[in-house]
Symmetry: C2
Subunit: 107 residues, 2 copies
């Protein structure tokens, strides 16, 4: 019945891990595990829905399209990414599991 955000992480993680933990009622709750991964250069997340995301472990840097300054995130930092805000993960801490919890809504 319960499950743990910090467990069940594969020892081998060639790509970022995306898992939908809950997906009904117009909301998607997603765990993301990055181990030094970043969004491929030149690619942006360009979403038609809102996202609220918290970094629970590790370190990361988010970049935004245009003039908006990058944001560095540490454990516990959360940020609201409104629909249409083009963003990418520029960097995550190498050799460490950076664990995100993303809430997608307003589809």
């Amino acid at each position: 019945m319960k499950n743990n955000l910090f467990e069940n992480i594969p020892s081998n993680l060639p790509e970022e891990l995306f898992e939908i933990l809950q997906g009904s009622g117009g909301v998607k709750i997603e765990r993301i595990v990055s181990r030094g991964h970043a969004t491929p250069e030149g690619e942006w997340y360009d979403q038609s829905w809102d996202e609220w995301v918290v970094l629970l472990k590790g370190l990361a840097i988010l970049d935004f399209d245009g003039d908006k300054e990058s944001v560095s995130l540490k454990s516990g930092d959360f940020i609201f990414l409104p629909a249409g805000l083009r963003h990418r993960v520029a960097w995550t801490e190498p050799d460490v599991d950076s664990i995100w919890l993303a809430i997608h809504f307003n589809f």
Copy 2:
């Protein structure tokens, strides 16, 4: 623009702290800080919407109405509480900040 789940906790916490971090688009994202607090004896949360909740720090025990067994939670444990599942916080670790993140949806 960013904020931190583990910061800005009052040193004095006579009652549980409930804060809506995001509340639009049919979803409410809430931080709860319990410092040994519990739901008053005999009281139940009886919600007409779904809740997904994760305990990020501390320790807690959730009780359920009826025959359903209690669930003990540690850091990272998450659980889905469907609408109508009567539940209460039976216990949280004393003298420690137990930090919850609750996603309320399906209103």
